[in-house]
């Protein structure tokens, strides 16, 4: 054992830092589980789930479903469109395909607020201002990265595996569904979860696109809930925030599991 422990000053400084770090989170949790919350950082006098019950019912519940719909819809659509475009980009010798991909990524680098106005009018003209409109718009914005990621994953599937399957009588569709997709599982999961969190966190686009309260996702709902009933209901807001943050944590653990299992077994050397 080493005898040189941390000095008292260091300990105090570290404890101070820790309190600063922890206080917003403890404030969030203490208020959320306190039915009589006042917005102060205090030990709750009662503990209950009333705030959570409030945060999943009525408008708030509707917003949770909207958020799920938008996030899962965007992720699924991004993956499907991404796969259909990335596979040919990975396998066919299209002249300038890399320049094409990086140009798309460059376009994506533009702040989404910059393309919001034309996007809005396009959606308005085609009558897509509801959740479906948000899903399509977010998918469009997602596609460059989705394409690039999926193409790189498909590139790692050795062409010999596809040739072997072809010689054995597999059609192109069978090669994709039975060989390429199962082997790119990790990549597809990454893209799905990445698009899911992106869409879940999206605020600006649904704010502009959702013209009725029924179409609000949670991000917009949280914004709208400030000062809605005159006084701020801290208990409701904190519970709502926790529910809003939960999927991100869930996605993190799912992603970690997939990343660990996905890449194994591609090697061919003896």
């Amino acid at each position: 054992m080493e005898s040189t422990g941390p000095s008292r000053t260091t300990a105090i400084a570290l404890a101070f830092m820790a309190v600063i770090w922890i206080s917003p989170f403890s404030w969030l949790f203490l208020n959320a589980f306190n039915p009589l919350s006042t917005g102060q950082l205090e030990i709750p006098r009662a503990v209950g789930l009333d705030n959570f019950a409030l945060a999943v019912s009525g408008n708030a519940g509707r917003q949770f479903i909207n958020s799920m719909l938008i996030a899962a819809g965007t992720a699924t659509l991004s993956v499907i469109v991404g796969i259909s475009a990335a596979y040919p980009l990975s396998r066919l010798r299209i002249p300038g395909r890399n320049a094409f991909l990086w140009t798309l990524v460059l376009l994506r680098m533009l702040p989404s607020a910059g393309v919001l106005v034309p996007l809005y009018f396009a959606a308005q003209r085609s009558g897509l201002l509801n959740q479906l409109g948000v899903i399509i718009a977010l998918t469009v914005l997602n596609l460059p990265f989705t394409l690039l990621l999926l193409k790189n994953f498909f590139d790692t599937v050795p062409i010999e595996l596809e040739e072997a399957a072809y010689v054995e009588g597999a059609s192109l569709l069978q090669i994709i569904t039975k060989i390429v997709l199962p082997m790119s599982r990790a990549g597809i999961a990454v893209v799905w979860f990445y698009s899911f969190t992106g869409a879940w966190n999206e605020f600006l686009l649904p704010l502009i696109f959702a013209r009725v309260q029924d179409a609000f996702p949670m991000s917009v709902g949280l914004y709208a809930a400030f000062g809605q009933q005159g006084a701020i209901n801290y208990g409701f807001l904190t519970a709502f925030s926790i529910i809003y943050a939960a999927p991100a944590v869930g996605v993190y653990f799912l992603l970690r599991r997939n990343m660990n299992t996905g890449f194994a077994g591609v090697g061919v050397k003896g």
Partner: protein
């Protein structure tokens, strides 16, 4: 079991022609090895037979039927890839059953064929394992098993042993030879390793820069190579080549020594080739070459001595046992007339 024939088969990528008109008849049940340096077109030729590369010109027929436009699965071939190409997300059993499942083979027959192939290859114990849990040699067997279950007319092997280590390669080589005997199938095998070619083939096809240099049994190629390329490529120790000039009743060797030789085409000889194993040590008076020993490699049962001649040529001699020679000592070499190969200006053998 089927014969395969190639008629004027050519392959170009854009304006670059890589296979320049190959004619070849492979008999039913024959084991033919395509051998040549990298980039000689041997793999391309195999892939054209497999239907993985379109043919630019000529005809390929399998079992008497031209298959130029027949898609790969209908050609009745099975291919074993250099990387084994096992599907990593499927068990050994599923890997072997994949093709049969696609062909909607009845379950009982499928199971029977997979187990039969597994029995032949002695991989019955691994059927439920994933490929990543297998060693290189076992993966190789699964890849071959996957070919066997489809009961093809022709087996195609694309450098199947090059990912294995040396001892396993020798062992698997013997197993492939046995397998050919058991299955009695037509096999076409591509390799850059002339040892595999010599040991496995009924007939070797030596390819170089997209053309066939020579076709023949291993011993024909060893004894009567048609040119310096084949002579230098076949056999484990490369043939020695020295330039010679014809004189009166023999050939003048480097160092102005004379080799008495009666050969009908002696006048045209420009290069003399002799295999290291045909050279022998000689007394200084009887020697045809004399030089200093620059390197000696001892293998135990034999040794390779590299002799540098005063002319700058390096001559390799294979000596039995473990000869006691000192580096830089002078070595005298005799050249037995029966080991001599003569080549003309263009490198063609003179018979």
């Amino acid at each position: 079991m089927s014969d395969v024939s190639l008629r004027g088969v050519r392959k170009s990528y854009g304006s670059l022609e890589v296979v320049h008109g190959v004619d070849l008849d492979i008999k039913s049940g024959e084991f033919v090895v395509f051998v040549g340096p990298s980039g000689c077109g041997k793999s391309t030729l195999l892939r054209m037979i497999a239907g993985l590369e379109p043919i630019t010109g000529g005809d390929i027929s399998i079992g008497g039927k031209v298959v130029n436009d027949v898609p790969s699965p209908q050609r009745g071939i099975a291919m074993v890839f250099q990387s084994y190409a096992l599907y990593p997300h499927m068990s050994v059993y599923e890997n072997m059953a994949f093709g049969l499942k696609l062909a909607k083979t009845p379950k009982a027959e499928l199971d029977q064929r997979v187990r039969e192939a597994a029995r032949i290859l002695q991989i019955e114990d691994y059927l439920e394992r994933m490929p990543k849990a297998l060693s290189g040699g076992q993966r190789q067997r699964v890849a071959i098993g996957r070919a066997i279950v489809r009961n093809p007319k022709v087996f195609l092997f694309d450098e199947p042993l090059s990912n294995l280590d040396a001892s396993l390669r020798a062992q698997t080589r013997i197993e492939i030879a046995k397998l050919h005997d058991t299955l009695d199938a037509t096999m076409i095998y591509v390799t850059h390793d002339q040892v595999e070619a010599m040991t496995l083939a009924d007939r070797i096809v030596v390819l170089n820069a997209g053309i066939i240099e020579q076709v023949g049994s291993p011993l024909e190629l060893y004894r009567n190579p048609v040119n310096t390329f084949v002579a230098g490529f076949i056999a484990s120790q490369r043939m020695n080549f020295v330039s010679v000039t014809p004189t009166g009743d023999g050939l003048s060797l480097p160092g102005n020594r004379l080799l008495a030789l009666s050969h009908p085409q002696r006048e045209k000889a420009r290069t003399l080739g002799v295999r290291p194993e045909h050279l022998e040590l000689a007394s200084p008076e009887a020697a045809h070459f004399s030089g200093t020993l620059s390197v000696i490699e001892q293998f135990g049962e034999y040794a390779l001595a590299y002799i540098e001649l005063p002319s700058g040529d390096l001559v390799t001699i294979k000596l039995d046992g473990a000869p006691d020679l000192q580096l830089h000592q002078t070595i005298h070499i005799g050249l037995p007339a029966e080991g001599v190969h003569l080549f003309d200006e263009a490198g063609r053998a003179l018979r």
